[in-house]
Symmetry: C2
Subunit: 335 residues, 2 copies
DNA sequence: ATATGTAGCTAAAAAGATTTAGCTTTATAA
DNA sequence: TTATAAAGCTAAATCTTTTTAGCTACATAT
C-alpha cells in the first residue's frame, strides 16, 4: 500500500501526468481540459486518496504553505497561547505553522531562522531578541515576509504587532494612585528590548504625571538567565529599604510569578502590606493568593493580527510595513 | 545572493556534483575520494555557507530528520513542557520537531497525522485520544515509527511512555489517610483514556487497601469540552452532600486549576475545610493559596525517554515495542 | 486549397539532491 | 606483455511535481 502519485492516476485513466496535475491544481479551465476528464480525474484522485508529494511540489514551486513561528519559550503560557492562536488563524487559509523556541538567545534565534528558511517556510513570525537587529535587516534584504510580535526595533521599519506598553503601566499606576498608593516600585528586565523599555519609560512618565516621586532604588532590574534568583533578591532589597515601597509592579508574567511566590514565602501580606500588579495575565494569577491584578494583553488579537498581516504579505508580494499597536486591559483582582 | 547548490561548489572546484555530495554526506572514505579533494570541498562548502536543499534531499531520500509531535493542547503547561524537552532531546541528534495540537479530538488527531506524514516526518510522538485506536493500528500497519505518550491502548502493542497512575493516586490517598482524612472524593474526566482509567481504578483500589469506604457520589466525572463548568458543578454537588468529603483529589492539572479557583470562590478554607491534592504539577499550584500538594509526573524523563525510543526505532528500523512506566512523585505542599 | 484559429491534450524540462553503475588511470600479478 | 585489481572520480538515473512549449485534429476564413 504505497503512496499513489500523479503517474498512477494518469495511467489508470489513460491520460498524461500533466492533465492530472492541471486538474488537481484547479487549472483545468484555463488549460481547456474537458469537463469530462476533469471529473474523472478528481473522482479517481479522491478514491485513491491522492495527496501531492510535499517535496516534489516544494522543489518545483519553492513554496510550502507553511509559516515559521519563533517565540521565546513555548512553555511560557504567554507564548504558547499566542502560538495557538496563530496556528488557528493560519489554518483558516490552509497554512501550517512550525513553532520553535529561541530561549531569548541571539544565536538560537538566528539559527532557527536559517533552519526554517531552509525548510522553505513561506514567511516568519518572530518575537525577536534585542540583539537580533542584524538578522532582521538581513531578512528585509532577502525580502522574506516576516512580522515581529511583542518587540520591535524602533530604528528598523518592519511589520510589527504589539501593545501599548506605556499605557498599560500607566493605567496600573493610576489605579494604584487612586487607591492611595504613592510608593510604587517596579521589578523588570534590563531595558534591552522595546517592550521592556516602553514599560520602564511608561513607569517613569506615569509617576511624573501623577506627581509621584521616583525613588532610585524602586526600579530593580533582573536578568533573563537568572530570573528567579534575581527576583528574590530584588524583593528582599525592596523590603529591606528604610523606606520600602507600598506597591510593586512586575514587568512580565514570569517576573510576577516568581515575585508572588517569594512574597508569599516571606509572609508579606498582599495587599495589606504591599499591593501587587503584574504585566501579562497568566492562569496562575487567577489562582494565586490573592488573585493578582494584571495588565492583560489581548493575545488572541495580537496573534490573529500578526498572522493576517503575514498572510497578506505573502499573498500580495507587496512589501509594506505596518505597525499595529493594541490596547491593553487592566483586570482588577484582589492584589 | 541566491542559494548555492552542489553544482556551484562542483563548478568552482572543477569536480562533479557527485563528488561534492559524497564528501558532504561523509561518504568520501567508502567511495575512495582523496583526502585532498575532501578537504577542499568541505572548506568551500563552509565558505559558501552551503546547506542542502531540503526538498531535493527529501524527495530523493524520503527522510527529513524531522519528527512530528501531536499533543492535546500546546497551551497546557503539561504538554508544552513535554514538547520542550522532546525538542531538546531530538536536537541532540539533529532532528527537528513539528508540534501540533489535537484538542483531544479524534478527527483532528487523524488529520494531523496525515499532514505530518505528508510532510514526511520520519516518526511521530503522540498523546492519542481514546478514539484513536484505528489510526494507531493503521500506523503500525504502515510501519511508521511512533511512540505514544501519557496514554496507550492496553489491547494494542505499541511503544509507550507514561507513568504509574495507580501508584500516584495511591500515594496521595495514603498521604491523606495518614493525615487522618477518610472521606475522599475524586473529580476526574470520563474513564475513556488509559491514564484516566488507571487513576480511577487506582482510586478505588487505594481506598480499599486502606479500608476506606467509597461513597458513590464521591466520584464526579467531568467532560473535556466543558471542563470548567462541570468542575464547578461537581464541587457544588460534593459540598451540598449531607455527608460531604473532607478531601478532594483532582485527576489532572486542568481539573485541579478550575477546582481550586472554584473552591476559593466558594470561600472553602483549604485545608481546614477540605484538603486538596491534584495530579500533575503546574506552575500555578505553587502560587495558589494555599500551594497545592500534587502528584508530579517526571516530564523531562518522560519526554526524553519518548524521544530516545523514537530515535532508536527510526535508526535501527527494527520494529519492537517497549512500554516504559515511570514513577511519580508526591510533592507535599500546604493543601 | 491554404491559412488561421482554437479546443484539447501531452512531451519534456526543470527543480537539487542522492545513488547506481561504470569509466579512466595507475599499480600489481601472471 | 597482458590481464586483473584498485584507486579515484563522474555521468546519468532517480525521486515527484509543476510548467512551458507545442502538437494534433478539426473548424472557419480567405
Amino acid at each position: 500500500m504505497k503512496k499513489v502519485g500523479l503517474e498512477e492516476i494518469a495511467k489508470q485513466l489513460g491520460v498524461s501526468k500533466t492533465t492530472v496535475s492541471l486538474v488537481l491544481n484547479n487549472k483545468a479551465k484555463e488549460n481547456r481540459i474537458s469537463d469530462e476528464i476533469m471529473k474523472k480525474v478528481k473522482k479517481l484522485a479522491e478514491e485513491l486518496n491522492y495527496t501531492p508529494n510535499h517535496f516534489a511540489r516544494g522543489l518545483r514551486k519553492g513554496t510550502t504553505n507553511t509559516v515559521g513561528l519563533i517565540i521565546g519559550d513555548i512553555s511560557n503560557p504567554f507564548f504558547s497561547r499566542i502560538a495557538r492562536y496563530i496556528e488557528d488563524e493560519a489554518a483558516k487559509e490552509d497554512y501550517h505553522v512550525i513553532v520553535a523556541s529561541s530561549d531569548e538567545k541571539k544565536e538560537k534565534t538566528e539559527q532557527l531562522i536559517h533552519i526554517l528558511l531552509d525548510k522553505k517556510v513561506d514567511g516568519l513570525i518572530i518575537t525577536p531578541n534585542y540583539q537580533n537587529s542584524e538578522i532582521v535587516l538581513w531578512l528585509k534584504k532577502q525580502e522574506v515576509p516576516f512580522v515581529l510580535v511583542d518587540r520591535y526595533f524602533p530604528k528598523i521599519k518592519t511589520n510589527y504587532v504589539g501593545v501599548d506598553n506605556g499605557a498599560g503601566i500607566s493605567s496600573a499606576i493610576t489605579h494604584l494612585y487612586e487607591q492611595g498608593y504613592e510608593k510604587i516600585a517596579l521589578i523588570t528586565y534590563h531595558p534591552l528590548m522595546s517592550n521592556i523599555k516602553e514599560r520602564i519609560n511608561g513607569f517613569r512618565e506615569a509617576l511624573k504625571k501623577n506627581n509621584l516621586r521616583l525613588h532610585n532604588q524602586y526600579i530593580q532590574e533582573v536578568s533573563y538567565t537568572s530570573t528567579e534568583d534575581d527576583v528574590k533578591l530584588a524583593i528582599d532589597q525592596l523590603l529591606a529599604l528604610t523606606n520600602p515601597p507600598r506597591a510593586i509592579l512586575f514587568a512580565t508574567n514570569k517576573i510576577g510569578l516568581y515575585g508572588m511566590e517569594h512574597l508569599n514565602a516571606r509572609n508579606v501580606r498582599i495587599p495589606q502590606d504591599i499591593s501587587v500588579i503584574s504585566f501579562d495575565d497568566d492562569p496562575a494569577f487567577r489562582l494565586s493568593y490573592p488573585p493578582v491584578t494584571v495588565i492583560e494583553q489581548p493575545l488572541k488579537e495580537i496573534a490573529t493580527d500578526a498572522a493576517r498581516l503575514l498572510l497578506e504579505q505573502m499573498k500580495t508580494k507587496k512589501i509594506k510595513y505596518e505597525e499595529i499597536v493594541k490596547p491593553v486591559n487592566l483586570i482588577i483582582r484582589k492584589s
